[in-house]
Symmetry: C2
Subunit: 369 residues, 2 copies
Amino acid sequence: MARVAVIGGGQLARMMQQSAIGLGLRLRLLAEGPDVSAAQVIPDMIVGDHTVLTDLEAAAEGAAVVTFDHEHVPPEHLRALAAAGHAPRPGPHALLYAQDKGEMRSRLTEMGVPCPRWAFVATAADVAEFGLPAVLKTTRGGYDGKGVWVVREPEDAEDAFSSGAQLIAEELVDFRRELSAQIARRPGGEVVAYPVVESRQAGGVCAEVVAPAPDLDPALAEAAAALAVRVATELDVVGMLAVELFETADGRILVNELAMRPHNTGHWSIDGAVTSQFENHLRAVADLPLGPSAPLRPWSVMVNVLGGRVEDLEGQLPAVFEAVPHAKVHLYGKAVEPGRKVGHVTVVGDDLDAVLANARRAAGLLVDG
Amino acid sequence: MARVAVIGGGQLARMMQQSAIGLGLRLRLLAEGPDVSAAQVIPDMIVGDHTVLTDLEAAAEGAAVVTFDHEHVPPEHLRALAAAGHAPRPGPHALLYAQDKGEMRSRLTEMGVPCPRWAFVATAADVAEFGLPAVLKTTRGGYDGKGVWVVREPEDAEDAFSSGAQLIAEELVDFRRELSAQIARRPGGEVVAYPVVESRQAGGVCAEVVAPAPDLDPALAEAAAALAVRVATELDVVGMLAVELFETADGRILVNELAMRPHNTGHWSIDGAVTSQFENHLRAVADLPLGPSAPLRPWSVMVNVLGGRVEDLEGQLPAVFEAVPHAKVHLYGKAVEPGRKVGHVTVVGDDLDAVLANARRAAGLLVDG
C-alpha cells in the first residue's frame, strides 16, 4: 500500500484524506496536536513539530513521498529528508518561492512575469524612495493579512520596521478584482490547469470564490493559465500551485502571491470539478496521471465559514440543510474563534445569482446563525 | 462534536467516512480487526465482535446514534442498545426485514407489494409441491449468491436442505433485467428517492450499475420509486434503503431483496449525484434534512472491481488514469482474493456508450491488468 507523509494537520490535510480514501493511498500525518483538524480523520498520526528534523523523519518513515499542509518546513530539513530517500513534493528548491516573498519577486521579475513594482526596503528612507502609498510585506511567515502593512504616510511604516523582519515594498495596485490560477503538476512535467477563478477578500482573508471568474476576458483567462503553467514549470513545482493574481483596472494581470499546496481558492473543485484539487495534489505527488479539471456544472461558488457568533457549527446543520438542501458543507473540526477559517460551503448550478445567494445563505447560517 | 457509532469495518463504513469528514460528524467504528477497510481511515476505532453485546456497548459509548456497515447485528443486542439510549438506525423492528427473508416476504405480501411467488419449505416434498424450477434461499445470512440454490430437478435441493437452515422457495422469475430503487429516510418520515438504476449481475454478484436505468418506462420508474418509499415508510426504515427489483419480461416489477444501509447499487452517487448515498445515510441517521439525489450528469456507470489477476491495485493506478483520466477510482484497502469486492470505478458523462466503455476499461485494468 502506497504511503504518503503529510506534514501539518490543518484542513488541507483533512481534505486530502477524503481523496486518499478513494485512491487507496495511506496517509501518515505529522500533526501539531492529537486532535487537530486532520488528526481527527487520519489514523496513522504522529504528534510533533514540523521545525524538528527528528519529528519529520519519524513521519516520513516508510513513505517514499512527503507533502505538506503548509509551507513552513525549514528548507534544510527538506533537503535532509530528500537525502534520506523521502522525496519532498514540492521540493525545497521550488518551495523557497512560496516561503520567501523576496526570493519570489526576484525570480518572477527575472523571468519577466508581470508583478507589482517592488523593492527590498530596510529603512524609512528606502520606503520614501520607493514612494507612497505602498504595501510593506515581511518576506517570510505572513499569511491571511498578517505580516502586511498598507503604508500611506511615512509613519505608517513604523509597525512594519518594529517587527524586525526583512521587508519588501510593493506598489498599492489599483485592481478591479483578485483572480487565482491553479495548476497541478507531476514530477515529469505533466500539468493540468484549473479554470481561473475570482477570489473575493474581506479583511485580507479569502471570503468567497466564484468559479470560473465571471465575465473574464477569454484572452486574459488564457494568459493567466499560461502564466501559472510557466511558473509551475520553471520553478519545478510538484503538486498543486496557486498563483494569486490582481486583475488591474486597466486590464492587466499581476502576480500577487504563490502557494504550493491545495489552496482556499480551489476548494470549489471538491464539489464542482471532475477532479478536486486534493485528488490532483495527491495524484501529482504520487506521480499518477492527473485528472481533468473541467467543471461539473457551469458555476460553483465557495464561501468560507469564518468564526462568528455560532459556536456549535454541527448544531446549525439542520438550519443550513433546511435552507439549502444542496449546499455542500465542509466543517474542519476546529474550535470557533473570531475570523478563524472553520469550514466552507460550496454550491454548484446553472444560474450564478442563485448559486451565489444559496452559498452565502448556507455559510451565513454557520457564521451568524 | 456529534458522534455516530458505525458497526462493521467494511467498505461501506470506509466510504461513510468520506462524507463524515465534510459534515464534521465523528465516527466511532467497531471493526473486525485493526486493519480492515474502514479501520484504515477512522481513527476512533475499537476492535470487536458485532455479536458480542459488550463490544457493541463499548463502540456506542458517547454516541447518540448507532448505524451499520452490514445487517448482522443480533436484534436482541439492538434492543439492548436502544434501551441504553443509543438509537440504532435503522432500528431492530425495521432491520428484521433485511435480516430475514421469510419475515420480509411475509410482510411485503401482507402489504400487497409485488413479490415473486414464494413459500416456506422444510422438505423435498414441500419443494415438489411448490413446483420446479424454483430458487431456494436461506432466510438468514445469505448474500452475494451465497445461501441461494437454483433448483431445476428434485435432487438439486439436497445441498440446500443439508445446510440445515430455514428455507424459502421462490419462483424462478423470467426477468428482463434487475433494477434498484434507493430511498433515504429520516426518523420523522422525510424521504428522498434516488433515480432507479439498472444493476447487472455476474455469478450472483453485482458487476455494474447504470444510473439511471436506460430506456426504463417512466411509469415503471415512478412505480418503483413509489414502492420503495412505501416500503421505507411502512417498515419505518431510517437511513438508506435499497429495494432490489426484477423487471419481468412482461413489464412488471417484483421485489427481490431489501438492504437497509448504503448499497452497492448506489455507489455511483458518490461521483454522480448532488448528494451521495453515504452523505444521505449519515444525514438521515443524524436526523439532518436530506440532500437532493439529482444526477450531476446524464449518465453514471459504476463497475465493481472484483479480485482478479491483479494483486497490486495501487500499482495499476498509472495505467488506469493514463487510459481514463476522468475515472473516479475507489479502492477499499482490502487484500485481493478471487471475486472479492476490492473497489469500484465510476465514470459520469453525457454519452452512455462512452461512459460505459470507459468505466469498464478502467475497472478491467484493476481486475486483469
